[in-house]
């Protein structure tokens, strides 16, 4: 018995352990649900998320009212407003379900853009160290030390509040993170033996950088993606909240919170509370997933 115990111990020490990580599963589950909503969300609610209904500021029905409302709906009557309506008469449930398409598409595209630029610039800055790449690093230092919210707000407001401009602005503020991460990893990789071997075989420097260094330097940036997507959702919502983001009546969580912000002092809590819960859970999910991926990479 004792020898068997020792054997399993050495075996598990030699092989990286793949425990089921509860946090990883939680993060992944949240992200998958949000991703699914981004695809089918706009068709879930009974109402058009971009059209007002005649019911203004209707509170969410209580659980005791719900069966009655459901039977009227099934009998051909109007659908219930599961989470109430806001001051303009938008159905909150329908908008809540439709919003991930706006938020996630913006966050994913912005992250994709900054990832591509950050990887390429980070590769150049790490592999070819000269005056130009040093200048690039100083510029990205300054950009990174400046509050992302203000930078993004200035860019979006002055360029015009379109979805494309929001994506570009977010990509701009998040690129320096990827430059820094990739550069550090490239510096780490470029003196390894296989790079030396590739050079000895007569490859051109650019080929080595793109074909051998880059693929081995992707991990930190890819892991950071999960966290960045979450923050991009927060930033998108914050921009809409101050009136420098997407335009109404686009279904977007930050816009929904903003539309209820003035009424919450008067006790009309439902228009702001539900979209806030959605953002809270979503961004937490991305953060948890990112953190779990990072720990897996280190292990």
């Amino acid at each position: 018995m004792a020898t068997v115990d020792v054997d399993t111990e050495t075996a598990s020490a030699a092989r990286p352990r793949r425990r089921v990580d509860a946090l990883f599963v939680l993060g992944l589950a949240i992200v998958v649900v949000v991703a699914i909503l981004a695809v089918i969300g706009p068709w879930i609610g009974a109402y058009d998320p971009t059209l007002t209904t005649p019911d203004v500021s209707a509170p969410p029905p209580s659980l005791t009212e719900l069966p009655g409302l459901m039977s009227t709906w099934l009998a051909g009557g109007p659908a219930p407003h599961f989470l109430g309506t806001d001051t303009s008469g938008f159905d909150i449930f329908s908008r809540l379900m439709a919003a991930p398409r706006t938020d996630l598409v913006i966050a994913l595209s912005a992250n994709g853009l900054s990832l591509v630029f950050g990887l390429l610039l980070g590769l150049l800055a790490g592999y070819f160290r000269n005056f130009v790449t040093e200048l690039l690093m100083r510029v990205s230092d300054v950009l990174q030390s400046f509050p992302v919210f203000i930078s993004a707000m200035v860019l979006v407001a002055l360029a015009g509040r379109s979805t494309a401009n929001i994506v570009i602005a977010l990509a701009f503020v998040y690129t320096p993170i990827y430059i820094r991460l990739t550069r550090a990893e490239v510096l780490n990789q470029k003196n390894r033996g296989f790079i030396e071997a590739a050079r000895a075989l007569g490859n051109r420097e650019l080929t080595i950088a793109l074909r051998h260094v880059l693929p081995n330097s992707l991990a930190p940036a890819l892991i950071q993606s999960s966290v960045t997507i979450g923050f991009a959702i927060l930033l998108t919502a914050g921009l809409s909240f101050v009136g420098a983001g997407v335009r109404p009546p686009t279904p977007e969580w930050g816009l929904m919170i903003a539309s209820g912000a003035n009424e919450i002092i008067l006790g009309e809590w439902w228009s702001s509370v539900f979209p806030g819960i959605a953002i809270s859970i979503t961004v937490f999910g991305f953060a948890v997933l990112g953190d779990a991926l990072e720990r897996r990479n280190e292990a």
Partner: protein, 342 residues
């Protein structure tokens, strides 16, 4: 040695600032916004439009505009070299004096939030690190992930709903003082300090009362990254040799923890400093929810009105303060660890 170090850092910082000023100047002018149309309205006659553009100086070539802004043409109007940030296009008052009015609000908000976080976060982060992998540690870790990924403006609204509307123990989110109260005459510009200097105790208490929810909101989101960092630095310190030695010698646990804390705080201060500079602009949303009238809210108004001198001024001031905070931190580091200055 120290003087040379400071001079070098200040010189680098000023170079960075100059680069930033010029960069921001061109970026906001190259974006397709039309501040003149925003000011005179869409239906203004071409003459009115041209006159407004002339008044704002926007009819001059870009490089001339830059030279005027930097202060190389003091005959036209004073610029940066003369210590002027120009005048707001919307209110016509000097950007410098407007910033002096709004900045203290933000500094008060951010500083109080950081104090609150430090008082709470350091013990919590330590608690997690002292028993790594335990249930407390996991809880602390999950909390820090959660708090660090939250929409602060929504939490602000939620707190307003709970503490103002439901419980009635917080004031309405309508500014730093209630509209009925006369603010103290500005001496330092800081409401809390001025009210104390002038002996207006009730105004001081009222200002604190109005700051309570915004500070708690900001402290909540800040606590995430700070707890996480304290925990990590504490873990690293606890694994170091001098702690092992102290343990072997048989020192009690609380004394070891105090040693480790001191070693963990130095690297933590750097991140706290960076976060502080970041928050001067990052408190925008909380300021907006509570209508505090800080520099972030000022920036939002300027951006939405295409008020270029104000945008440039806010960016410049926030960056300058961040750079000064970094410098102060580096000096603090150098003071406890002279190896840094080489």
């Amino acid at each position: 040695m120290l003087v040379r170090y400071i001079a070098k850092r200040l010189g680098l910082g000023i170079l960075q600032l100059i680069g930033l000023v010029i960069g921001v100047f061109f970026i906001i002018r190259l974006l397709p916004a039309d501040p003149v149309a925003r000011l005179v309205g869409m239906n203004a006659s071409p003459q009115a439009y041209a006159q407004a553009a002339h008044q704002l100086g926007l009819d001059r070539p870009l490089l001339t505009q830059l030279a005027i802004y930097l202060g190389f043409e003091p005959s036209v109007q004073p610029g940066l070299l003369q210590g002027s940030l120009g005048a707001s296009w919307v209110t016509d008052s000097l950007v410098m004096s407007e910033i002096a009015q709004y900045l203290p609000v933000t500094i008060t908000l951010v500083t109080l939030s950081f104090l609150l976080v430090l008082i709470v976060a350091v013990p919590i982060g330590m608690l997690g690190a002292l028993n790594p992998g335990g249930r407390t540690d996991k809880g602390v870790f999950i909390y820090s992930l959660f708090a660090g990924s939250q929409p602060e403006f929504w939490w602000g609204l939620l707190f307003v709903y709970i503490f103002f509307f439901r419980l009635g123990i917080a004031p309405a989110p309508l500014g730093s003082l209630s509209p009925m109260t006369d603010p103290p005459a500005p001496i330092t510009g800081f409401l809390l300090i001025d009210s104390l200097l002038e002996g207006q105790w009730s105004v001081f208490v009222e200002a604190l009362d109005h700051l309570m929810l915004p500070v708690v909101t900001l402290a909540f989101v800040l606590s995430g990254p700070i707890i996480k960092m304290v925990r990590q630095n504490m873990l690293r310190a606890l694994r170091s040799d001098f702690v092992l030695y102290a343990d072997c010698v048989g020192l009690p646990r609380d004394i070891i923890a105090r040693y480790a804390l001191r070693a963990a705080m130095a690297p933590s201060m750097t991140l706290i400093g960076i976060l502080y500079g970041f928050m001067l602009g990052g408190a925008v949303l909380v300021e907006n929810v509570f209508s505090l009238g800080g520099i972030g809210q000022y920036a939002v108004r300027a951006v939405l009105a295409f008020d270029y001198p104000v945008i440039q001024g806010v960016v410049l001031v926030i960056t300058a303060i961040s750079l000064l905070v970094y410098l102060a931190l580096d000096l603090f580091h150098a003071a406890i660890d002279p190896r840094i200055i080489v």
